[in-house]
Symmetry: C2
């Protein structure tokens, strides 16, 4: 079937999962699929899983990938001309990989690649919780902590590397971050760092916790957002403590950025942000407050309205935009 209106594919490449979606030109999801991100191998293996996820979503939407007007991709790492360099939290991705060209050949349609966090922020700005605002900070709290910016109604990407809110310093000489630096917000709040910290408290300090037992029961190789949420529901003290520490760091780091940029809205997304939802967005806002310089008019803090699909929907927007404009990186 050839649809009358253009149909787009979108793929969100995360540190834990690959989310694919097929959307019509009004951004309604016609089908979606999800696969775990490979934990070993290299970029080609990741690209192969992305292809399968997109094909699964296309099957659900009853369309052939080659019939799509194009597929957008939100990817971590530095993106230039469809090539992705040093994608954090992905296996063996230190060098440059031609992701757009690889997927284009595999799927038989146009592919545009953008920064994962920026496309998700753009989706929240245009379709989600940020629709009411002209300036916006998107905070994607998952394996790492990424940030996206809308300033004056337009994405701000700096020289291409803006938005690294996870590496705002909240403690000089503080905890070691998974990036190798010290005291980054992500060293306290990133799920990868939280797992390392919880394991150290459990194995080295003998602290009791059900976190790792829950992960084993649910056959999860890592402490996923769902595992953290379950541990919280059980009142697991160590999980509560590690999350408190994460929320404190998020409060300080986000407040720092708000003090500098004075944005109208803050959107909390990402795996943990979406899973823990409104109660945690409220707690983050509370932890921001003592650090806000203009504390009489704090920004509005919301959970990402597009939830888990935001990144993939944002990727379809990227593709639609790239068809409407002359091609760029």
């Amino acid at each position: 079937m050839i649809p009358a209106m253009p149909t787009f594919g979108g793929i969100d490449l995360g540190g834990t999962k690959i989310q694919a979606v097929i959307a019509d030109d009004e951004h309604n999801a016609l089908g979606s699929a999800r696969r775990p991100t490979p934990t070993s191998g290299g970029p080609a293996d990741v690209a192969r899983e992305m292809e399968i996820a997109l094909r699964d979503a296309a099957k659900a939407a009853e369309i052939e990938p080659s019939e799509l007007a194009g597929v957008g991709v939100g990817s971590p790492g530095t993106i230039e001309h469809g090539e992705v360099t040093s994608a954090r939290n992905l296996p063996g991705w230190e060098g440059v990989f031609p992701l757009a060209a690889t997927l284009q050949a595999a799927l038989g349609c146009r592919v545009a690649v953008g920064n994962d966090v920026q496309v998700a922020t753009d989706a929240e700005f245009r379709l989600g919780a940020g629709r009411l605002y002209d300036s916006l900070l998107g905070v994607f709290w998952g394996t790492g902590v990424g940030g996206g910016l809308i300033l004056g109604g337009r994405p701000w990407t700096g020289r291409g590397g803006a938005g690294e809110i996870g590496h705002v310093v909240v403690e000089i000489d503080g905890a070691r971050c998974t990036c190798g630096r010290r005291g980054c917000m992500e060293a306290y709040a990133g799920r990868a760092a939280m797992e390392i910290h919880a394991r150290r408290l459990h194995e080295e300090k003998g602290r009791k916790t059900d976190l790792f037992k829950l992960a084993a029961e649910h056959e999860r190789p890592r402490l996923t957002s769902g595992i953290w949420a379950r541990a919280l529901e059980r009142g697991d003290k160590l999980a509560i403590q590690v999350l408190d520490r994460a929320v404190r760091a998020l409060g300080a780091g986000i407040a720092s950025v708000v003090n500098v940029l004075d944005v109208e809205g803050v959107i909390i997304g990402g795996g943990l942000g979406v899973r823990l939802g409104h109660p945690f967005a409220k707690r983050i806002a509370e932890e921001m407050h003592p650090h806000l310089f203009a504390d009489s008019r704090p920004p509005h803090v919301h959970v990402a309205a597009l939830a888990d699909l935001g990144g993939a929907i944002g990727a379809t927007l990227l593709m639609a935009d790239s068809l409407a404009q002359p091609p760029s990186s």
Copy 2:
């Protein structure tokens, strides 16, 4: 004499000094004057000193204030429609004061008021060390630490309160800031906080220092930038330690902002920034480096090229702009 081309006045209202300048329409200084900022009284007393400083500068330039095309003012605090609210580091300025109207009546010419740090950043962007860049962070290191932003060639002021880089958190639960919060960059790097810290180390911990003796010898009621510079020249160990701590905080805080905004250039201005000059700008760049996420392409770090006159020259630009455009706040 009535000049053929419009001539502008500019006043930079700082926590320590009031700097006034008269400039031609190519931004060349025709005359300047400086007075200390009153340490007691209220906004009306400050406005009176600003008037005298502007009159002194006009006398040096052989022009009457009423002959000026207008006077621009860079002021701390929140600025709306020429009114200034809660100007930090100024005596008795908690409420709203109609600064533009007061100076307009006193000087007999138009007055436009803008944020001190933003006008100084704009001056560096258009005439100074930031001319080569399209995106810029101005860091004004003086009594406090203020920040100004140029993003995509235009000032970014958020909802009117952007640029509070002094209150980026570099240490959760860290040192008490003069703003009342904890762990702000300014709590380590602001000259007011540095003086409090040095005095505590000297008086309570018995640490030796010439800082206060130097201030007394030079009849300074505070540890001015010049006193800090002299103490450094003498190898004063406590002064070196307090400045090291300040530079570390500046490195972490500025790097945090660069990680989020990925600007091309950072300009270090303000009383201490200008007085300590290139060697300290270099040290700040070195302290930023371990915290930069994209450390292979750090931003360019410069000392403010317009030095002490940047704020006042920026204020003349503000006035010239406000004549070229319909009036706004």
